[in-house]
């Protein structure tokens, strides 16, 4: 074993030496091709990252596109099957059910999350005492790994008396002569269980980004508005929101991507019927050995995200305001 570790260490050193050698060669080649010293140095220095991108990002992406056209089962070489996986997807009820759940989840949590994180950011932007502490507290949930959050909320949403949510809201339900929902045990309330779970992350990174956006709004805009007699709501509507649109745009794009790619929460919370699309993908790939089919699901998911992102980008000309931008 000691020998094996020593050999591994030597191999690491040799790889590093090889990379340095290739960097030097790149530099020399560029210089010979007439590239100036500074850009040649720059290209040589980013070469390790670029190689990493090619090998660990681009290659797997292209490979997964190819695999989506095969019957790859992980343990054997893939066979080309053309568009069969995509045709099968069209007829796969579980795929559509998972897609519906995922899209419904995104459609609810993305705008809601945007609204709540904006609200939290506006509150944290007030000159209250101990604001640093409040900001830290609001950010704390974001540092928890998603699976911990999922397990925590699974307990919070237990349908019995030890489930904090039901325990706290039971009197309200009984007022209407009803009983609390069974959350993750009832197919009809699974989505809402996940939506509630998503609030946990609202006050994390999104709020911090929004807060940074709020800080960048020039104060003189508010002062000028006050001179003109603008009230709180008026200032929020006509200054804060427009000035914050680049940030909202950024958070919206990230929210759409994260919403559709949701995985950990679904994996760690057992639900009675269909789960999220990413969980279905994982199940097909790793549990059922249908990696080709799973790759096809991944590409469908990619296309959905791409289309939605492009739609948001196209719409941004109508609602995102950049300072210094001249609208024609």
């Amino acid at each position: 074993m000691v020998q094996w570790y020593a050999e591994t260490l030597v191999r690491y050193v040799l790889v590093a030496a090889a990379i340095v050698g290739v960097m030097l060669l790149t530099y020399r080649g560029l210089r010979r091709a007439g590239v100036r010293r500074e850009p040649a140095t720059g290209f040589a220095l980013i070469l390790p990252w670029f190689l990493g991108f090619l090998i660990w990002n681009l290659f797997p992406v292209v490979a997964s596109l190819y695999l989506s056209l095969t019957d790859y089962n992980i343990l054997q070489a893939p066979n080309f099957v053309g568009l069969a996986n995509y045709q099968q997807l069209a007829e796969d009820e579980r795929f559509w059910a998972s897609l519906r759940l995922t899209m419904a989840y995104s459609a609810i949590t993305v705008p809601l999350g945007l609204l709540l994180s904006l609200l939290a950011a506006v509150l944290l932007n007030q000159g209250v005492r101990g604001v640093g502490l409040w900001r830290t507290l609001y950010y704390l949930p974001a540092i928890l790994p998603p699976f911990v959050t999922a397990l925590l909320w699974r307990l919070m949403l237990l349908p019995t008396r030890s489930g904090l949510v039901n325990s706290a809201t039971e009197p309200v339900w009984s007022l209407f002569g009803d009983t609390p929902p069974r959350w993750f045990l009832d197919p009809d309330t699974v989505l809402w269980g996940f939506v509630i779970m998503s609030f946990w992350g609202v006050f994390g990174a999104n709020t911090v980004i929004m807060l940074a956006g709020l800080k960048n709004i020039p104060k003189d805009l508010y002062e000028a508005a006050e001179v003109d007699g603008a009230g709180l709501l008026s200032k929020f509507r006509h200054i804060t929101v427009p000035q914050l649109t680049p940030t909202l745009f950024y958070v919206l794009i990230l929210g759409i991507i994260a919403g559709i790619q949701i995985f950990d929460q679904g994996l760690f919370v057992r639900v009675p019927r269909e789960n999220f699309l990413n969980v279905y993908l994982y199940q097909q790939g790793f549990n059922f050995f249908h990696m080709g089919y799973a790759s096809a699901i991944a590409w469908v998911m990619f296309v959905i995200i791409l289309v939605l992102t492009l739609a948001v980008f196209r719409s941004s000309t109508a609602w995102v305001y950049y300072e210094g931008e001249v609208k024609r």
Binding site: L14, R28, L75
Partner: protein, 437 residues
């Protein structure tokens, strides 16, 4: 920078890459014998041990026991090879599949019964049929194993692994709860009716007679009624036969039924086996090696009986796992010898050994640490009796898909009153049969 320097850099890079690339084929990941070293074991220098790697799902404590009770002994007694353990307790199957796909899979792997046929059918496992015939040890003799357990390591009549454990499900019970209710302990005269009646009699307030949540597997009751989930020749899934339905309906009469068992909500809140350990459930079906202790680590007075008799048999489910050999192992003959030694070691460590001659009270009692000897000593007769009726699934290559479908389209719906057993079985059967080989 001179031309000379450029050439030197090129030479250094080329050499480094060449050496690095060659490293993999000579002695990749823990060396020799390993699967990623096609020439490793065969070209091992004289006098040097071949190293085989085994990946298991063993957690910290189990891995320590495996090392100390099995591997250290083998490695100390062997001059030809040594076995190195790599534990992967989390995401086990994802990890081993990825490693196999990447050509870095271990030489030996633990596979639960549901997986052997799938891996074998996809060419990932070494066919051991002929290799085992050349080894004299009893552990290498397929006929020495319980047939209904050994079948889980076969695929198309070829041997792809050696089972190292076969845990029959037994009926554990808490004698204190029986005594308090003045009810006689379970014994081998019990049938389904007596069992269900007693479970109800022991249910009161926050205490339940029995507990089920999908475990024990419904298959067991379908088998006991004379039904089958996948036929022996793997050609049908007759879950809608009258016998299979009788078993399913009996199970349905128990699961989540508050007159005898905790509801789903209560189980989620208080935990399945935790309720039994806490003295809130009187009878619990568990594997033969299960141990029961308080939160403080004190062994409980828990006894065992054979499962109640069904309409046709007392068949009990055997949780089974095998050690298999990577198809790309460099030295198959030596690997087979190492597998036999490894399996023999595990047979004296884990209970119940799937080897018929080792399924006895002495071996079972000796397998447990001192702390558990009293508890298991009281259970050993029931465990041995249960081994005579134990069986595993009839496993197909697409077992995981079959299990998932069987759960979603039959069991889950049945347990949640979304149809009768007959209707659900009739609807699920064609879908299940579409997955058969």
């Amino acid at each position: 920078m001179s031309t000379r320097f450029t050439r030197l850099a090129a030479l250094a890079a080329a050499l480094a890459l060449a050496v690095t690339a060659c490293g993999g084929s000579q002695s990749s990941s823990p060396p020799a014998g390993g699967t990623a070293a096609p020439s490793g074991a065969a070209s091992q220098p004289a006098g040097e041990k071949v190293t085989f790697r085994i990946t298991t799902w063993a957690g910290e404590g189990e891995a320590k026991e495996l090392q100390e009770l099995v591997l250290d002994k083998i490695n100390a007694s062997q001059s030809e090879y040594e076995i190195v353990h790599e534990a992967a307790p989390a995401d086990y199957y994802t990890k081993i599949q990825t490693a196999l796909a990447g050509g870095t899979g271990a030489d030996f792997l633990w596979l639960s019964q549901e997986y052997v046929a799938g891996y074998a059918s996809r060419g990932a496992l070494l066919d051991l049929t002929d290799l085992l015939k050349t080894i004299a040890a009893p552990t290498a003799k397929v006929e020495g194993y319980f047939p209904d357990v050994m079948k889980t390591a076969l695929y198309q009549d070829k041997v792809y692994g050696l089972p190292w454990i076969s845990q029959p499900v037994v009926l554990y019970y808490n004698p204190a709860l029986f005594d308090a209710a003045g009810i006689a302990y379970p014994d081998d005269t019990w049938d389904w009716a007596k069992f269900a009646e007693t479970a109800k009699a022991l249910t009161k307030d926050d205490q339940y007679g029995f507990s089920a949540n999908g475990w024990p597997p419904i298959h067991m009751f379908m088998w006991q009624a004379g039904g089958e989930t996948v036929s022996d020749d793997l050609s049908s899934s007759p879950i809608d036969s009258a016998e299979a339905l009788q078993g399913a309906e009996f199970y349905k009469s128990l699961i989540f039924n508050s007159s005898c068992c905790p509801t789903e909500d209560v189980l989620l809140e208080q935990g399945f086996s935790e309720m039994f350990k806490a003295g809130k459930v009187a009878m619990f079906m568990g594997g033969a090696s299960d141990t029961f202790e308080t939160a403080d680590g004190v062994a409980l007075d828990i006894r065992a009986a054979v499962p109640p008799m069904g309409p046709k048999s007392r068949t009990t489910f055997a949780w089974t796992a095998s050690t298999v050999v990577n198809a790309k192992v460099a030295n198959p003959e030596l690997a087979a010898k190492a597998l036999v030694a490894l399996t023999d070691g595990i047979h004296h460590w884990k209970i119940v050994s799937p080897l018929t001659e080792l399924a006895n009270a002495d071996v079972i009692t000796a397998s447990f640490p001192e702390k558990w000897k009293a508890q298991k000593g009281q259970q050993v007769d029931a465990i041995i009796a249960a081994t005579q009726d134990m069986r595993s699934f009839n496993v197909i290559p697409r077992q995981q898909e079959w299990d998932d479908l069987f759960w979603r389209e039959f069991q889950d719906k049945l347990y949640h009153d979304q149809g009768t057993a007959a209707d659900l079985a009739a609807a699920a059967r064609p879908q299940l049969e579409a997955l058969l080989p």
